[in-house]
Symmetry: C2
Subunit: 236 residues, 2 copies
């Protein structure tokens, strides 16, 4: 099944007009003709079945014939606040994989040791959209604007909150031993060079729980995906 | 800590001569001088401490002053047999991440639906080596030559064996519900387009246990890393 994405679709939508790129893909690559059925999600939990009424490879139009509300398959909410990696590809890779496995919200955090302090939000949005479509999900993870780590900590956190820092700390537990199933989580992942000691202290003052990701030294994006998969595993 | 790799080092080694690239890195980038200490692993569980005796940026030589045998931190053995992805980057990405998280052996399997039937072993070896160094591990995962899937199935499997295929099967369990901790595992990951029905039948005849990786449709390399992290999680 090939899933399309259009955030404008709602319960009242009657038809959908695809952009040039999508129209070309539908007509030229998928070889869809008038009468053919397409699947589209609005990224807000709805799956639309639409029948092609104009099979034009520059402007394909389809009539919505059926709508399904897809209940979330996950019974938890996961927010990962992660420092952008020096190499863009690594953050983009994290976003693709985290979306495939299951994440609800992502915030790029700019830390003291961050070598990269900006991200291309539109580009990252597209990567998340295509991973959602590819993995056949119907809810688009929320990508927030980058924020300074110290400002991020000023939020009120009512959910379960964890920090994956690399400083020695024999109190560190594995997520599976300190996270409650079916809950809401925010997990902090630091930059190459880790959170600064001051940043760690600030997060501990806000009652973030330090977690261990195992013996090996993990890259930022690997650590990020590691917590996403650990929370998913906790709910299997 | 910066870890170097030299497979020739053994308990009897007295000194090590670095190649041009490494010598340049040590002297120019790390700014190491004669008397400076370097850490080297042979990828067979040993960590060598060596003192630079010739700080030449074309041919750096160091004298081994101490050797530590590093016992494996993992109490299981994981072999992942995975179909090379159509896009090389995705297989390489899997190798890097699987090595970071923890894998012991990898076999590229060529399946009926494999679009890629060859891999560049030397290049993949280098990726595994650099991930081992980066994650501060001292045992190099074993990378086997590619093999036809049907030939691979002719092996005798005494370990716990699992297959992650995408065909509907309500008997599928999650790894955490069917894998025994502290054991030896071989897990099969199929190509884009999945294993063929015939390949699945053959593996079931060999008593491979079908496993579920969750609700979402995962890319080949994501599925591969997913099982590596699930087995790691099982041992946390």
């Amino acid at each position: 099944m090939q899933l399309f994405y259009n955030s404008d679709l709602s319960a009242t939508s009657k038809e959908i007009t695809f952009n040039k790129e999508e129209s070309r893909h539908i007509v030229r690559v998928l070889r869809k003709k008038e009468g053919g059925i397409l699947h589209i999600t609005n990224g807000k939990g709805a799956l639309f079945f639409a029948e092609i009424i104009i099979g034009n490879d520059k402007k394909c139009v389809a009539k919505i014939i059926k709508t399904e509300e897809k209940s979330r398959t996950r019974d938890y909410y996961l927010h990962v606040a992660i420092a952008p990696t020096k190499n863009n590809d690594r953050l983009e890779w994290f976003l693709e994989k985290a979306t495939e496995i299951g994440v609800d919200e992502i915030t790029p955090i700019i830390c003291k040791n961050s070598e990269r302090k900006t991200v291309k939000i539109e580009r990252l949005e597209r990567i998340i959209q295509s991973a959602m479509k590819q993995s056949l999900q119907f809810t688009l993870p929320k990508l927030n604007e980058p924020i300074k780590f110290t400002d991020f900590l000023n939020n009120d956190f009512s959910e379960e909150i964890f920090i994956a820092h690399c400083e020695e700390n024999n109190k560190k537990k594995f997520l599976k031993n300190c996270a409650t199933p079916k809950s809401k989580y925010t997990i902090l992942i630091g930059p190459e060079g880790d959170f600064s000691t001051n940043e760690i202290q600030l997060s501990l003052k806000k009652n973030f729980i330090p977690i261990s990701l195992g013996e090996n030294r993990l890259r930022t994006e690997t650590a990020g995906l590691n917590v996403v998969q650990s929370i998913a595993y906790l709910h299997q």
